[in-house]
């Protein structure tokens, strides 16, 4: 496979994952603002911060409101991570790697772009937001379904998966990082309704509010939620799950290419680090410090993958 093609696949799936994550984040923020039990402006601000686009946003706007943030995250072409921007980037990458995709995957990505282009042609109002987010989620599911259902399990699939999970790990880690103060044990002692709203917001941003209830019927505590998001290998958006998947797909590449690269070591190191930790040690050493370190290592891993498989010349 061409290095450029591998890079195209990797980025295509990072962008697709990002589109869905942004939609979910927006949904959580929207619910939060609806409860009126919190400071809406600071909640919208934390949504923008979590999306990693705060600098761009601040350069354009002076305040935070539902209308501005929704437009920024959904449609703004000045925001390279807006749903529309990443949907277009995903499709551009899909065109680039067209020969590596099945017809079904290509058509799903193309259809995704066409639907969202129409959907997001005009600003989305708060009334229309739930319907718009539903379309975005559905379109992502169609792409994923086409990938799982029709693609050969070979290096093409591996690069697609690695892109997905590196992006997802980054997303979950950033959500924890922005909201870490609500997850500290000291906060859980309060057990106020405010904390409950915050926790629900976090769980909703990773589509895990119902899963969490299924698994953890006892009381919702900050520690339990943090542990769930970092360590639970059953949760498809936990850090441990993402690292496990990335490592696994890298291992398939190692077998198929019969070559071991520095990125293999990095991924395994990241996995081992998570294994040696438990939630108490994390709190002892500092949740914020741990998550910051994870975000950095995950990024380094991504760059190493790009280098090892010659994405660019």
């Amino acid at each position: 496979m061409l290095g450029k093609t591998a890079g195209g696949l990797y980025w295509m799936f990072r962008f697709l994952e990002r589109s869905e994550n942004t939609a979910r984040l927006l949904e959580a923020g929207f619910r939060m603002a609806l409860t009126r039990s919190s400071d809406a402006e600071s909640e919208w601000k934390s949504v923008v911060t979590t999306s990693g686009t705060g600098i761009g946003y601040d350069a354009k706007y002076d305040s935070y409101s539902d209308t501005l943030v929704m437009d920024w995250l959904l449609r703004d072409s000045d925001n390279p991570s807006s749903v529309m921007s990443v949907t277009k980037s995903a499709r551009d990458n899909a065109r680039l790697v067209r020969t590596a995709l099945t017809t079904e995957v290509w058509e799903a990505v193309n259809d995704n772009w066409m639907s969202l282009r129409d959907l997001l042609a005009k600003p989305v109002t708060t009334v229309d937001l739930p319907a718009a987010l539903a379309v975005i989620r559905k379109q992502s599911a169609l792409v994923r379904g086409a990938l799982y259902g029709t693609m050969l399990r070979n290096d093409i699939y591996d690069f697609a998966r690695i892109g997905t999970f590196i992006e997802r790990a980054d997303n979950t880690a950033r959500i924890i990082d922005v909201k870490y103060y609500t997850l500290l044990p000291s906060a859980s002692a309060v057990g106020s309704s405010l904390d409950n709203v915050q926790w629900e917001m976090i769980l909703r941003s990773v589509s895990a509010h119902r899963c969490f209830r299924w698994l953890d019927e006892q009381d919702m505590t900050a520690t339990a939620i943090a542990e769930f998001l970092i360590f639970d290998k059953r949760l498809p958006r936990s850090l441990a799950f993402c690292v496990k998947q990335t490592t696994e797909n890298l291992r398939y590449l190692e077998q198929e290419y019969e070559t071991r690269h520095p990125c293999h070591d990095l991924a395994e190191k990241l996995g081992r680090r998570l294994k040696t930790l438990d939630i108490d040690t994390v709190f002892d050493q500092g949740l914020h410090e741990m998550v910051t370190e994870f975000i950095r290592d995950n990024n380094v891993l991504g760059s190493q993958v790009e280098k090892d498989f010659r994405f660019i010349g």
Partner: protein
Amino acid sequence: MQSACFLGSRRIMTFAISGLTPNGCATGLVRYGKQMIKKSQIFDEMIQSDGSITPPYQAYNDWFQAQDAERLQSKSEEAEAFFRRTGITFNVYGQSEAQERLIPFDLVPRILAHREWTRLSKGIEQRVRAINAFIWDIYNRQEILRAGRVPKELIAHNEAFLPQMMGFTPPGNVYTHIVGTDIVRTGEGDFFVLEDNARTPSGVSYMLENRETMLQMFPELFSQIRVQPVSDYPKNLRRSLAACAPQACVGKPTVAVLTPGIHNSAYFEHSFLADQMGAELVEGHDLRVVEGRIAMRTTRGYKVIDVLYRRIDDDFLDPLSFNPDSMLGVPGIMDVYRAGGITIANAPGAGIADDKAIYSYMPDIVEFYTGEKAILRNVETHRCAEPEALKYVLDNLADLVVKEVHGSGGYGMLVGPAASKKEIAAFRKKLEAKPSNYIAQPTLSLSTVPIFVDQGLAPRHVDLRPFVLVSPQGVNITPGGLTRVALTEGSLVVNSSQGGGTKDTWVLED
């Protein structure tokens, strides 16, 4: 860039005067399908002037008459949705919104009888063989120049002539691996070659997708009418390219398609062909010279390419040999090529054969290299460099189409019958200042084929581009090709950016 502009460029076909009887006055109406239209002298390939159906269209007409117009309308919309979903679009330069456009597809096929096609394809094969012999001759012995059949100046001062190709014979002695010969028709047996596209002709993906669309929309048609298939083209293309592998090739040849990138107007076609052939789709920055071969950067390191089907122009191919600013090509590829390390399709410098000035010599060229009369006619061409021809052209400017010799697309051309007196006067000055820069052709009455409209059928002008593959094993012509149709009534502009569409093209089985 000729390679990139076939579907997007301004391209005007020779002009026709319609709706006139021989003595020049409009007459009554004539039956056209279910409606009456103005009587015309134009040859229609389906409906004769008395309203009867021509033999190749008999079976199709029977089917068409039994169809419900609303169903056909909804099928037509289905086709458009299909094209959008699969991404069969072309890019339009310089437009930020709606950068990708669809080429309208008309659901009435253009049908050629077996006998008509046999003659056409013989003529095309003869012409393509002559073209390859001509190019070899120009870059080697130059016998045709020495024999005085083609003037030396025409070659020496031609931008398409590449001195770097002198004394070199490409692998398999093939210069034009892929040719798209543009054909127009004016009557029952009157086919003319309008252009020989010997560089990197595009449009073949539309030929394939148009057929695919027809098969999906109207499967029953293909069980009732025996149409020669076109679907083997990608397989034949691969085989044909592989048969031209260079000396240095070891084992099964690796084929790749070189594209300028996703923003090129024909990118869809590049990726489509790579996909269908099972070849890698590469860009210049994926390639480099590795130990005297051209290699592509893969996830496992550099892998050698044997045959490169390039969809970029000569000028951009190698910054070390041609345009030093080119970012699209591969530095050093010409040296590797000349040393037998890679096959480039089509060969650099092949454009010398499809130049407009050379075109006028094509009947002589065919005769010179094949010893036979040309089967296919040229459109009569007046070379303004010759005093007598120039006088004739100046006297008849209002009736002629005058083209720049080296210009591509429709730039710098005069369409006499459509031009104002002022435009003609201005052009006359340009022509008188540099006659050798121009050729002139009469206006032709191009044939029409019906398209599907609200009222049923309506005649529209068409041209045809069959696709030809050349390898040491022979010449392969896919039965059919791409029919382009001017969707606006009376218009002769078939190009897609100005209201042109395409049709599936059928060649009937014997």
